[in-house]
Amino acid sequence: MNAKVDELAAEIAALDEAAQRVLLERAAELSFRHGLVELSESYRKRLAQQGELDRTAEDILAKLRQIREEIAAREYPG
């Protein structure tokens, strides 16, 4: 693992500054995307366990509307 990381670091260090910046940005975006995919998988797994995963889009929107009104009424009473 360390040898691989050293090898990659050397390759990156050999790039010019602009290319390094682009590469690091891309790597950060990819890592972010992987994180979101993991979050999505974990969320879907929980919903499946609760029997909630197969709700229709309309059902979900209706539930979200209800939650929106409840929160708004609590935060801005009267």
């Binding site: 950060a28 975006e29 890592s31 972010f32 995307r33 994180g35 979101l36 993991e38 979050l39 999505s40 974990s42 969320y43 879907r44 929980r46 919903l47 995963l53 229709t56 889009a57 979900i60 929107l61 979200l64 509307r65 939650i67 929106r68 009104e69 929160i71 708004a72 009424a73 935060e75 801005y76």
Partner: protein, 145 residues
């Protein structure tokens, strides 16, 4: 001005459809994959709604991801002004939608991405544009040409 130069708000349904990967709303999942390219604000009402839908662990993971791009992904926990909410209610919005619209106006956000086609449909001359996830993706692709 391109969608990449503007601050945008993703409505709660974009986050939830995207994370659930709802088959009828796959553009939402695709939009979240490109999240780090946008400049996104999460206003208090949306944050509260995400808290109501996600578990503590899921919220913690989401916030940890958002903090990776603090210059592009921002949370705003401030309550919005009751007088702006009242203005949108007078225009026919339900309280919750009025709160979201007020957040956008107060934060000077010019784009709301939402899959709720009824949201503010009846209101003319909004100070922001409404886009579906598919429309936002189309603008993203256009901006990157």
């Amino acid at each position: 001005m391109s969608i990449l130069d503007e601050w945008v708000v993703f409505d709660t349904n974009i986050w939830i459809f995207g994370l659930r990967r709802v088959p009828d709303n796959l553009p939402c999942a695709e939009l979240l994959e490109h999240l780090a390219r946008f400049r996104v604000v999460l206003p208090r009402q949306v944050l509260q709604e995400l808290h109501a839908n996600l578990s503590e662990d899921e919220i913690r993971i989401l916030f940890r991801l958002l903090t990776r791009f603090p210059e592009r992904l921002k949370t705003d926990w401030e309550k919005t002004k009751p007088e702006i909410i009242a203005k949108y209610q007078r225009l026919g919005c339900k309280l919750g939608d009025a709160v979201v619209a007020a957040h956008l106006e107060e934060l000077d956000i010019k784009i709301l991405v939402s899959e709720n086609r009824d949201f503010l449909e009846e209101v003319r001359d909004l100070p922001f544009r409404r886009l579906s996830a598919a429309q936002a993706l189309a603008e993203l692709k256009q901006s990157e040409k």
